[in-house]
């Protein structure tokens, strides 16, 4: 094939027996002797290599590189942090696409723009025309650096062999990193065009390209050609220029917003100024929003949009086939073929991917914008009208490490509501509750760190009379801040609540406590809502401003939902107008211990973002939070930052053996009362603001956000139980806290000695809390946790900071708190560690060993066990009919 360009890997492809074709002026492998179907399937279950060195790679640098890129790309370049990549369109003046592209920022002062091979020359003409107006320059480095896409569930472990175990990139999509692969510098991006949730693109100097390719094959990857790349991207519904972008089958230019991904790739931030295509794109965007709201009154700007399509009749769709709804031509297929997949069985987390494969006939189509999901359509396949449907998608990637094919199936009809005699059902329910109670309380070893069995006293009190009552109350200034109750019959609970407040103040070491929140997450919501209200208190005549910047622990690094924008921060966090993202900055963590905050890097982040609110605390917590160091830094800087410590997990550890948050400088502590604390399931807020201080007003706002802001009925029964728990804690905390921390350290060391991979800092005996984290292998966490459950060991699987999400988790999170309370000491935890190693490492069934171990420890410790208390409880049980 004369005049065709060849990539750095041409010889490697030919040697492997690839079928070479002309692709955009490049001589590229369409398939290897393995052929497309096998290559597609190998990508989905293992790992494939794709030579993507033909794609245009343009380095952009110079003082005005950002304004230039803002002008020629659709995306907001200011949103791109170092070591991040973003998808972008290169728009033309009409709101169509010159090309689509990926922008990478591997270095502070340079951007790498990657464009389609076939469009590179056209793109360069367009971009060169524009760059004249900017003090910036472009250098084409397509020939200098090769690019290899390494895609599939095994990609990460293969690349980690080359990196010597170092994390290849952060686990999030679009993360970048520069590192060494066996002594060679590589740039790695967590990006790709196969839809794989575990996919990377690796850039390496041309001379080393063949070395890397061959090394990856030695490690178990297999080559895949452009054919499999196309079937993979089609299954993932990723657009291909020339099919879903550019001109449609009628020869009309496809508007950018016709492609669903455009929503993420186009920004109208002020930062972008008058970028190319801004005006028509803004009109398309207005039309897009109307269409999404099913207002089809004006489709002129966006008459058609790209949607997935699945053939229901037998056959195969190809690009350009007419699509009809009834008799009306509504558009054309833009891509289509028969795509293979692995069958699966089982449901939810128990879904098993089988070895058996099948094929399905899927495609993408550009159809009238009033077409809806689940619409039945017909495709004209060479003269025959075949039945087809518009599915929501062909594949999902939110259960990594596997991309999951989604087969079209119409909603099943809901089962008819049950009818008949409920008596037998009532009896069955009671029987099953007994079974469950005995199993969890007497036969299982519970290691879930966020759980605690309360004492008999706490449980009985929770079930006694106040649990059916209301006691709304509010401080009234006219009565010198006396609490006024709205209902009668509440004198007892009023007294209980006051006693509880005093006990909790003493325990937490602070000036004020709010006990009405019924969960830890509600406590956080109360505080966030109060902070926002407080911020806006002097101007109520406009929409309140949200909070930002906020600094917290990233969810993937142990942070909890209750301090994330997707959780309790949702309605309170601002959007940064420059980056168009949440005004959130995460604590940097230490490289050699990802469970610990990096204080020096945190100080730099505080300098840069000057956060108005810092939230310490997390749900995967092995170490103390550096409250004192950050408090001092914030004060030295003269910042007005509010510092909160969400101690949900470690509330019961406040004291000499862990941390004293208020002494270290936290202003607000929230928590849940049933993890390391002894209570029933509730939440708590404590603050160290005193009357007369400015921020005492914030405290008063927190109170009003509890009631009437969050609860009308604050669950009086469990509040009564919590008072007993607070008595128990204040009485026994010294022995209990000491035992929890030393048991956790001892358990961690025993697990390590038994051959398990224990996370955390060995210098601290792996943990300073009640938690122990064990790595069991990437993606195997759910399986191991389920095996342990079958053997009566209850713990939870957890994604580590290097993993993509819960289905990819490779760790177990365990807490010693509940078993410590049932009397386990170092000897029992050592025995438990041996049994767990047998079960995890050697697949041994250990249910009987666990039941035998547990049988000796069913009596609750660290609570009042005197004869007098016991008989009073019997009386309470009798009188309350429990």
């Amino acid at each position: 094939m004369p005049d065709l360009k060849r990539t750095q890997l041409y010889d490697v492809h030919v040697a492997a027996g690839a079928t070479m074709v002309d692709f955009g002026g490049w001589e590229m492998p369409i398939e290897y002797p393995t052929k497309i179907v096998a290559e597609h399937l190998y990508t989905r279950h293992a790992c494939s290599l794709f030579d993507v060195s033909h794609m245009g790679r343009i380095l952009v640098e110079g003082p005005e590189m950002v304004p230039f890129l803002q002008h020629v790309l659709s995306s907001n370049v200011m949103a791109l942090d170092l070591n991040q990549a973003q998808y972008a369109i290169i728009p033309n003046e009409n709101g169509g696409a010159v090309d689509d592209a990926y922008l990478y920022r591997f270095e502070e002062d340079r951007y790498l723009l990657v464009v389609n091979a076939a469009n590179t020359d056209k793109d360069l003409v367009h971009l060169n025309e524009q760059i004249k107006n900017y003090d910036a320059k472009m250098t084409v480095i397509t020939g200098d650096w090769a690019a290899i896409a390494v895609q599939g569930p095994k990609a990460k472990e293969i690349l980690q062999v080359l990196s010597g175990g170092e994390a290849v990139t952060e686990p999030m999509k679009n993360a970048l990193n520069t590192l060494q692969f066996e002594g060679r510098t590589v740039r790695v991006a967590k990006t790709g065009y196969t839809g794989e949730p575990i996919g990377y693109e690796v850039y390496i100097e041309s001379a080393e390209a063949a070395w890397l390719w061959n090394r990856l094959i030695e490690l178990g990857a297999k080559p895949a050609g452009l054919g499999a790349r196309d079937t993979c991207r089609l299954e993932a519904c990723l657009p291909l220029y020339g099919h879903e972008m550019g001109d449609d089958p009628e020869g009309k230019e496809i508007p950018v917003f016709a492609v669903p991904l455009a929503k993420f790739a186009v920004s109208f931030s002020e930062q972008k100024g008058d970028f190319i295509g801004r005006e028509p794109l803004a009109k398309q965007y207005e039309a897009f929003k109307r269409i999404q709201n099913r207002d089809f009154s004006d489709l002129t700007e966006l008459p058609r949009k790209v949607m997935p399509i699945t053939l229901l009749d037998k056959g195969v769709m190809r690009a350009g086939m007419p699509v009809y709804k009834g008799d009306k031509l509504i558009g054309y297929t833009t891509s289509g073929t028969m795509v293979p997949y692995y069958r699966h069985e089982g449901e939810g987390l128990s879904t098993v991917i089988l070895e058996e494969t099948a094929k399905r006939s899927i495609g993408l189509a550009i159809v009238d914008s009033d077409t809806l999901e689940d619409d039945e359509v017909q495709v004209d396949v060479r003269g025959k009208r075949l039945k087809a449907v518009i599915p929501p998608y062909h594949m999902r990637v939110d259960a990594p490490p596997f991309a999951r094919p989604i087969l079209y199936r119409p909603d099943e009809e809901a089962a008819a509501p049950a009818s008949g005699d409920r008596g037998p059902k009532a009896l069955e329910l009671i029987g099953r509750a007994i079974e469950n109670h005995v199993w969890r309380q007497e036969k299982c070893v519970n290691l879930i760190p966020s759980e605690m069995s309360p004492s008999r006293a706490v449980r009985l009190l929770c079930a006694s009379d106040p649990s059916f009552r209301y006691a709304e109350h509010k401080k009234v200034k006219s009565f010198y801040d006396a609490d006024v109750f709205y209902y009668q019959g509440t004198e007892f609970i009023d007294e209980v609540e006051q006693l509880l407040v005093e006990e909790m103040k003493a325990f937490m070491g602070c000036a004020e406590v709010e006990t009405r929140c019924v969960s830890g997450q509600m406590s956080n919501t109360c505080v966030f809502s109060a902070l926002m209200d407080w911020k806006n208190r002097l101007n109520r005549k406009q929409d309140p401003k949200r909070l930002g910047y906020i600094m917290n622990n990233h969810i993937i690094k142990g942070g909890h939902l209750s301090a994330q924008p997707m959780g309790a921060l949702h309605d309170y966090i601002a959007i940064d107008p420059v980056t168009e993202r949440h005004a959130l900055v995460n604590f940097p963590v230490l490289k050699d211990n990802i469970y610990k905050i990096d204080v020096e890097e945190t100080k730099k982040a505080i300098d840069q973002y000057r956060p108005e609110f810092i939230i310490f605390g997390k749900s995967m917590v092995l170490h103390k939070e550096p409250v004192a160091a950050i408090r001092k830094y914030v004060d030295d800087m003269g910042l007005q930052t509010t510092i909160m410590y969400d101690m949900a997990h470690v509330l019961g550890l406040i004291g000499d053996y862990f941390q004293k948050p208020f002494q270290e400088g936290a202003e607000i502590v929230t928590g849940s009362t049933h993890k390391t604390f002894f209570g029933p399931q509730r939440g708590i807020v404590g603050v160290n603001y005193h009357k007369g201080e400015l921020k005492y007003g914030l405290w008063e706002t927190i109170e009003t956000r509890a009631f009437p802001g969050s609860v009308s009925n604050h669950h009086l029964g469990t509040q009564l139980g919590l008072l007993m728990a607070a008595y128990e804690m204040n009485q026994f905390k010294d022995e209990y806290q000491k035992a929890v921390v030393s048991n956790a350290k001892s358990f961690a060391k025993s697990l390590k000695a038994a051959g398990l991979d224990v996370a955390g800092d060995p210098a601290n005996d792996y943990t300073e809390t009640h938690q122990v984290i064990v790595s069991v292998g990437y993606g195997t966490g759910p399986d191991v946790a389920m095996r342990l459950e079958r053997n009566n060991i209850i713990c939870n699987y957890q994604a580590t900071p290097e993993e993509e999400g819960f289905t990819a988790s490779g760790a177990l999170r365990m807490g010693v708190n509940e078993m410590t309370r049932f009397g386990f000491g170092p000897a029992e935890f050592d025995k438990l560690a041996q049994i767990m190693a047998d079960c995890i490492l050697r697949g041994k069934e250990v249910k009987e060993d666990i039941e035998a171990l547990r049988a000796g420890y069913t009596e609750m410790k660290y609570c009042f066990t005197e004869e007098q208390v016991a008989s009073a409880l019997n009386e309470l049980a009798k009188k309350s009919g429990i």
């Binding site: 079928t19 369409i30 398939e31 052929k35 497309i36 179907v37 096998a38 054919g227 079937t231 037998k314 056959g315 195969v316 190809r318 073929t337 028969m338 795509v339 293979p340 094929k359 006939s361 060479r382």
Partner: protein
């Protein structure tokens, strides 16, 4: 590449095996399957359909494209190899075993090549 000598071939890359008494089996050649790549779908004719020499009677689809299969003879479809509908990859795995149709009442043939001639033809 395999070219069994007991078969006759067309320039459109079909094979025909004479079963005697005006009946024959028809399929696609090893060369054809290799060029097409992974076959993922076949659109079969029905029993009793009339087929005409050098006209399409069936189409096969690979991941990449669709191709017509031309009939080497004129006659009537006596039997269809319906297993291929679920497993079109049999055409890749065993092109000379995976016959597509059995044709009866053959009244005419198109241009047919011997194994030797066909091999020379594809190697051009």
């Amino acid at each position: 590449m395999n070219f069994p000598t007991e078969l006759k071939y067309t320039k459109d890359h079909e094979w025909i095996k004479d079963l005697g008494g005006d009946t024959a089996l028809v399929g696609i050649t090893d060369f054809a399957q290799s060029e097409l790549g992974d076959l993922v779908f076949i659109n079969l004719p029905q029993e009793g359909d009339e087929v005409t020499a050098d006209e399409s009677f069936c189409d096969v689809e690979s991941v990449k494209a669709v191709s017509d299969v031309m009939s080497p003879c004129t006659g009537v479809v006596e039997e269809v190899h319906s297993e291929l509908e679920d497993e079109p990859q049999m055409l890749n795995e065993d092109p000379y075993g995976a016959w597509i149709v059995k044709v009866k009442d053959i009244s005419a043939y198109g241009e047919l090549l011997s194994a030797e001639e066909y091999e020379a033809f594809v190697q051009k």
